[in-house]
């Protein structure tokens, strides 16, 4: 049973608080994704676990052991960097073998060969082992970079936006592969990204992080359906969630203290005018094939929702809005969990 626990970790760089009092535990075999914008402290969190940075306070436990002051090499971890992870002076084979050839590890060359070949197989780069690392396509490079971590069997794999430098198609492909590999190996992974799709598709649990603070930790469904606050709600969903001040919709029943309504596309239906009080004007209709994005204005606020592409809606038209179980937030942005029927 290996798991990684962060206890009240804080780290500042000069006047910048990169990580604030962050606690997190990653259980054995779990795929945890830290989701947040750049500069939120995601990468710093990974580097603290890896030992590439020392926390100002708090502790890091791997497999129940306090490793806070240990050098990176003695912690049982593997790190996939965002970029620059392949050594340009080595072949693909040597790149994959590099972690195993560490003087601290002393793996016999015969075993190294076996591990490298297995890993290459897993990542579909077997035919490229003799290539120079610089002679690979972007997708192959990134697969080999991930392979450099997978040749070992560490307590935890730390991955820092490993797919962010790839184009959308490759990203989608590798996303699936990575999840497949994780399930196959039963690997424990802490993965950092700003891409909500990566978080939603791969994670067993998502941690939403902002300004160095962990705002909420839970399963993708939990985070999406029960966000702790308006920021977490805004991180997930395409098109993003609409916010509407409560005073603009006086006729809608809502819990006490509600200051803001969070309306995801599935909470907002539009239809022909039928005597309702919520009337908005369509500004623009974006046709995306299987669905339409309808941009509409309600009392000076722009809202976006999805609509059936066959529903006849045109710009300039007035439509009636129907809210279905929106999210309620108080003045501080915290969610009020009550559901009004």
């Amino acid at each position: 049973m290996t798991d990684v626990v962060l206890r009240n970790i804080s780290k500042r760089f000069g006047s910048v608080e990169a990580v604030r009092d962050l606690s997190l535990s990653v259980n054995d075999g779990e795929f945890v994704v830290l989701l947040g914008p750049s500069g939120a402290g995601k990468t710093t969190t990974l580097r603290l676990i890896a030992g590439l940075e020392q926390p100002d306070s708090g502790s890091v436990l791997i497999d129940g052991e306090d490793v806070t002051r240990d050098p990176p090499g003695t912690r049982d971890i593997a790190f996939v960097f965002q970029q620059y992870s392949l050594y340009p002076h080595l072949s693909v084979y040597d790149n994959l073998a590099f972690p195993l050839r560490s003087p601290a590890r002393r793996v016999p060359e015969r075993l190294i060969k076996k591990r490298v070949e297995q890993t290459a197989e897993l990542l579909h780069v077997s035919s490229k082992l003799k290539n120079s690392a610089t002679r690979l396509s972007g997708g192959e490079m990134q697969r080999v970079a991930i392979g450099r971590a997978l040749v070992r069997d560490p307590a935890i794999y730390l991955m820092d936006e490993p797919l962010s430098s790839l184009d959308a198609k490759l990203r989608a492909e590798l996303r699936l592969e990575l999840k497949r590999i994780q399930i196959e190996l039963g690997a424990t992974i802490l993965y950092v990204t700003h891409d909500q799709v990566e978080a939603m598709t791969m994670a067993s649990r998502i941690g939403v992080i902002r300004d160095g603070k962990l705002l909420q930790l839970g399963s993708p469904r939990e985070i999406y359906e029960n966000p702790a606050d308006s920021y977490v709600a805004s991180r997930l969903g395409t098109p993003p969630i609409n916010f509407l001040p409560a005073h603009l919709v006086p006729d809608v029943a809502m819990p006490d203290g509600t200051e803001m309504l969070g309306i995801r596309t599935e909470h907002l239906e539009i239809g022909k005018r039928n005597g309702g009080t919520l009337v908005g004007r369509v500004h623009r209709v974006e046709h995306l094939g299987e669905q339409n994005h309808v941009h509409l204005e309600y009392k000076g606020k722009m809202l976006v929702t999805l609509a059936d592409p066959h529903q006849p809606v045109d710009a300039g038209e007035d439509v009636e809005l129907r809210l279905k179980h929106p999210l309620y937030f108080d003045a501080a942005g915290r969610r009020i969990p009550a559901v009004i029927q």
Binding site: A50, G51, L52, P71, P72, G73, T74, R75, I77, A78, F79, F81, Q82, Q83, Y84, S85, Y87, P88, H89, F98, P99, S102, P103, A104, R105, R148, R152
Partner: protein, 319 residues
């Protein structure tokens, strides 16, 4: 296809044939101007004493190895009678010398001087690059208090001509018994070169992303192992370029060599101008010495030229 060819003809990136021709001519002209003196020296080494100083200068001449023989030997003049009584010459150079009524008295000092140059030149280059690499790595990677001031201080040692400190150094060296020692010259050239090495190499190492070493650290390598396995192989270009610059300086250095060496540790630069023959400078011998002296640098540069070229353009294009 022809449309593409046509568009290329007017490309603002591709040079026009005329521009290429002009550029080529300038380069060739420059090459000729720079190589000509070198060729003249190589040729002079094969001239006789009188051909070497003939006016107008002789382009075509009867080649002789006198210059080289004179460079490597010490000779004494004898009367023709004495020479006639000697047993016949055993070697071709004995014969050559006797034609001028001289006999070989022993080897000249050129070989030990050349060895001094090799030891001092390559020794100080190795030390400067070795120390420079370590210092540059530290400046590049660690948070060093007053790093910028220290770097400026290191650079400032190059802001005056080295000879400006010749007298203090001479006095220091006399106190420390370092005058006319190889160790002294190695230390001196290292001190001068290390500032250049630190600055050049810091630039190269800055370009190598930290992530490479961090990956190695995470994989269980120590920092020193990571430096050796990851940083150095990628800094090879910079190290080679720096080594060439350092070697050229210490190989050619004249002023300190004249001041601080006279016997034991004398290098080639102060030795060459004082190769005296009968009635003054022995120009063919001087030219022969110069030819031999230039060789190692030419060889070293040719061997490392790939790195040198890459070194010059390194960092200009961000990958």
């Amino acid at each position: 296809m022809s449309a593409i060819a046509k568009s290329n003809a007017h490309s603002i990136v591709e040079a026009s044939p005329r521009a290429k021709a002009i550029a080529g001519t300038i380069v060739i002209l420059y090459a000729v101007i720079s190589i000509l003196p070198l060729l003249w020296i190589v040729a002079t080494a094969f001239k006789s004493q009188s051909d070497a100083i003939a006016y107008p200068p002789k382009v075509f001449f009867q080649p002789t190895l006198e210059g080289y023989v004179n460079l490597f030997t010490m000779r004494t003049r004898q009367t023709p009678d004495f020479i006639a009584k000697l047993p016949p010459p055993t070697t071709w150079y004995d014969k050559l010398v006797r034609q001028h009524d001289m006999v070989i008295a022993g080897p000249s000092k050129v070989v030990p001087r050349f060895i001094n140059s090799l030891i001092i030149g390559f020794g100080s280059t190795f030390l400067a690059v070795f120390l420079g690499t370590l210092a540059a790595y530290a400046f590049s990677r660690f948070r060093i208090p007053l790093a910028d001031d220290l770097l400026f201080f290191i650079l400032s040692t190059r802001m005056m001509p080295p000879v400006a400190v010749a007298i203090p150094i001479y006095l220091m060296y006399r106190q420390l018994n370092l005058t006319d020692t190889r160790l002294g010259m190695i230390l001196l050239y290292t001190a001068v070169n290390v500032s250049l090495a630190v600055w050049l190499l810091k630039g190269f190492i800055d370009e190598i992303p930290r992530e490479y070493e961090e990956a190695a650290l995470v994989d269980g390598y120590t920092r020193l192992q990571a430096l050796r396995k990851v940083v150095l192989p990628q800094a090879v270009t910079g190290i080679a370029a720096t080594a060439i610059f350092c070697l050229i300086f210490s190989w050619n250095e004249y002023a300190f060599a004249v001041l601080l060496t006279s016997g034991e540790a004398q290098t080639m630069p102060p030795f060459i101008p004082f190769i005296i023959g009968e009635g003054g400078q022995d120009w063919p011998a001087v030219a022969a010495a110069t030819t031999l002296f230039v060789m190692p640098i030419v060889l070293f540069t040719v061997l490392l030229r790939k790195h040198l070229l890459r070194g010059i353009t390194f960092g200009a294009v961000r990958k």
